[in-house]
């Protein structure tokens, strides 16, 4: 039986909480090189997250949603994709979109309030960052459906949170996926909290994975802080979506059980609604030391390698910050660009009015309000 077809309340694990290979688990199908790359990306993500939070604190960036604790689920799931596959992120998948080729400086730019930060670079198969919860789910379904109609081999991986499962768009998006049997994988980053609302308040269902029952396809729960388990489950789901066996349905819902170590966003104070003990308990499952322990145990990395990675990662993040901060405020004309393919007359008039205002008052006056 495939790893996906187990009971939806059995959680898939490959590593123990301490980072040993579980006795009942096979070794990962990843080369040492890819494993190190995965590890490096997770380290990068963690460091990026720390720097981003501090940029916000220093007033150098707007509100930012941190991801620490969730790097394993993000990176390992994105690693499971083939070149041609697409991801549909929400606002917290900085590491997943990076893995798929989106540069860190663009992510920073986005949170610095530049539209340009949400224009996925040409060679990345990444949809735009979506802010309204769950609304990207039908998009992923639609794109997957289009890929099926065009008979390509693309699979669409859609990320969303535990809170998102309560929205109508979750339901409608997954239901369409089931009906039209589209090559999509629905990846729920269940980090236990939707801002201050705990998982138990979102739904009376005992698992989120079991919600797939309503749509006639598989749901599977995985330890989302075990990157090797996430990789394996996602890979199986992607392959099934691409190339289902007789009698298999293409879509799968994956519930990756994990924890957000930090605040919901830099505007949030989690101490108001949860206690530090809980955070500490989950930190014991931290995906980064866990993978590191495994890699050290296998002799794939050692102190030197880890140090080199750390230095490298610092440099990459520092460079990205420099690049992002070097980008000028967009020209005010950008307000009017890309509203339509062709600018309607009324927008032209409004743009001209704005130019007159700027000429008359200067940008400083207009911006000081």
């Amino acid at each position: 039986m495939s790893i996906i077809q187990r009971g939806p309340d059995e959680q898939v694990q490959v590593l123990t909480d301490e980072g040993e290979l579980r006795p009942d688990a096979d070794a990962p199908e990843l080369s040492d090189e890819r494993l190190v790359e995965m590890y490096r990306t997770m380290k990068l993500a963690r460091h990026f997250d720390e720097r981003a939070v501090s940029l916000q604190r220093q007033g150098r960036m707007g509100t930012y949603p941190p991801m620490s604790g969730q790097e394993g689920a993000q990176v390992a799931s994105a690693f499971a994709l083939a070149e041609q596959d697409w991801i549909f992120p929400s606002y917290r998948e900085h590491a997943a979109i990076y893995t798929r080729g989106w540069s860190l400086d663009q992510t920073l730019l986005y949170w610095m309030g530049h539209e340009g930060g949400n224009s996925p670079p040409p060679d990345t198969n990444v949809f735009t960052v979506t802010v309204p919860i769950a609304t990207q789910i039908p998009h992923a379904t639609g794109a997957a459906w289009a890929a099926k109609l065009r008979d390509t081999s693309e699979v669409m991986l859609c990320y969303f949170g535990d809170g998102a499962t309560s929205e109508g768009d979750f339901h409608e998006g997954l239901n369409f996926a089931g009906v039209f049997d589209v090559p999509a994988v629905f990846f729920c980053n269940n980090n236990q909290w939707a801002i201050s609302v705990p998982r138990e308040r979102q739904t009376a269902a005992s698992t989120l994975a079991q919600k797939a029952t309503a749509y006639g396809f598989d749901g599977v729960q995985v330890d989302g802080m075990d990157p090797l388990a996430v990789y394996r489950v996602t890979k199986a789901a992607i392959e099934k979506a691409r190339d289902p066996e007789e009698g298999e349905t293409r879509p799968t819902m994956i519930e990756a059980v994990q924890y957000r170590f930090g605040a919901h966003t830099t505007a949030d104070d989690p101490s108001v609604y949860r206690d530090e003990d809980e955070v500490q308990r989950w930190k014991e499952k931290d995906p980064i030391p866990r993978l590191e322990t495994y890699l050290r145990g296998e002799g794939v990395v050692d102190d030197d390698a880890v140090e080199a990675i750390e230095a490298d990662v610092r440099e990459e993040v520092a460079d990205a910050i420099e690049t992002a901060e070097g980008v000028q405020r967009p020209a005010p004309e950008e307000l009017f660009a890309h509203v339509y393919a062709e600018m309607p007359q009324r927008l032209e008039q409004q743009l001209a009015y704005l130019q007159r205002l700027r000429d008359r008052h200067g940008d400083d006056a207009l911006l000081e309000s």
């Binding site: 539209e115 340009g116 949400n118 224009s119 996925p120 040409p122 949809f127 735009t128 309204p132 609304t135 789910i137 039908p138 998009h139 992923a140 379904t141 639609g142 794109a143 997957a144 459906w145 289009a146 890929a147 109609l149 109508g168 768009d169 409608e172 998006g173 239901n175 369409f176 009906v179 660009a337 890309h338 509203v339 339509y340 393919a341 309607p344 007359q345 009324r346 927008l347």
Partner: protein, 332 residues
């Protein structure tokens, strides 16, 4: 309307179907989807025969799920297809309101042009057919007020086909509202071949020197009737906007600057309707030409009633004639 090519006398709904047929034939990326659009041919028969002609992959019955329909169409459009989702009645667009306003309208802007949303959401709209609750709404302003969307309302069979073709070929999302009161009200010669009527251009349906009457959709007919009825007294110029967003203010202004008097006729509730935008713009840009208050004959600020009272709700020609006379005879 061309006379030397083959044509047929079609109703508006037949012309819509004809337009869909032509675009499905022209471009493999076009597909029609929605509730009851395939085998059933749509509850108004606007998609009749399309499923038979183009098959399961091009004409698709979906679950009863408006947000799912529009949301997945957005995904398809971003992927590169040109979906034409139908929402069964305008009153059932609200479940898809979030997908339309937060996504369809913004995808191009949000991604700085990397992703676009060439999609046409069709919906029958307006009252007058003795329908149940929420089957008679005219809420074009939901979308006219939304940057990034286009809004089109045909008032004749010929335009319906040509505007629909333009909407489908347009690179941006279009809400295409079909006045169902006139779905079968009259026939007009419609060329068999494909053609387009450009978006963003109002039509002068009747030339006149005294009063500019601005309307669109199902109200165009009673407006022309009323103009004819008062022709002895007042020479009315009747404009049919056709595209509500982006709006052809040029044509409206030109006519108003000629007549100095204007009346807007709309089915939607008065407060916050398109009429008020037009009036506000005219007085702002052309006050010096204005010879009388610009009046509106509009729907009331009440829910659209069940059918026993709908004829009291809808502007009809007496009401429009009164409006024309009030505007024409006003003296400062």
């Amino acid at each position: 309307m061309s006379t030397d090519t083959a044509s047929q006398r079609l109703t508006l709904v037949q012309a819509v179907r004809d337009g869909l047929y032509g675009e499905l034939e022209r471009d493999d990326d076009v597909l029609v989807m929605g509730e009851d659009v395939a085998e059933n041919g749509g509850v108004f028969r606007a998609t009749q025969g399309l499923h038979e002609a183009f098959g399961d992959d091009r004409v698709i019955d979906t679950p009863l799920s408006e947000s799912g329909i529009v949301g997945s169409a957005i995904g398809m459009a971003a992927y590169g297809l040109r979906p034409v989702p139908e929402i069964q009645f305008m009153g059932f667009i609200p479940p898809a309101f979030d997908q339309l306003t937060s996504h369809a309208a913004r995808l191009r802007n949000r991604s700085r042009g990397r992703y676009t949303c060439p999609m046409v959401v069709r919906a029958p709209y307006g009252g007058g057919i003795r329908a149940p609750e929420l089957h008679s709404e005219s809420k074009e302003m939901w979308f006219v007020h939304e940057p990034g969307l286009k809004v089109v309302v045909p008032s004749t069979p010929h335009d319906a086909k040509g505007l629909l073709a333009s909407a489908i070929r347009d690179p941006d999302p279009v809400v295409f509202l079909e006045p169902k009161l006139i779905y079968r009200a009259f026939r007009e010669s419609v060329p068999d071949e494909r053609y387009t009527v450009p978006l963003g251009e109002a039509a002068v349906r009747r030339e006149g020197a005294d009063v500019t009457l601005i309307t669109w959709g199902a109200m165009t007919r009673p407006a022309i009737e009323a103009a004819e009825a008062v022709a002895d007294e007042v020479d009315v110029e009747v404009l049919d906007l056709r595209t509500l967003s982006p709006l052809d203010f040029e044509t409206v202004r030109t006519s108003f600057e000629k007549t100095g008097r204007a009346l807007v006729v709309q089915e939607a509730p008065r407060t916050g309707g398109l009429g008020s935008e037009i009036v506000a713009t005219l007085q702002e840009e052309s006050l010096l030409y204005q010879e009388a208050p610009i009046e509106q004959v509009a729907g009331f600020d009440t829910p659209f009633p069940l059918y026993a009272l709908e004829d009291y709700y809808l502007p009809e020609s007496d009401r429009i004639e009164d409006g024309i006379r009030a505007v024409a005879t006003y003296e400062i």
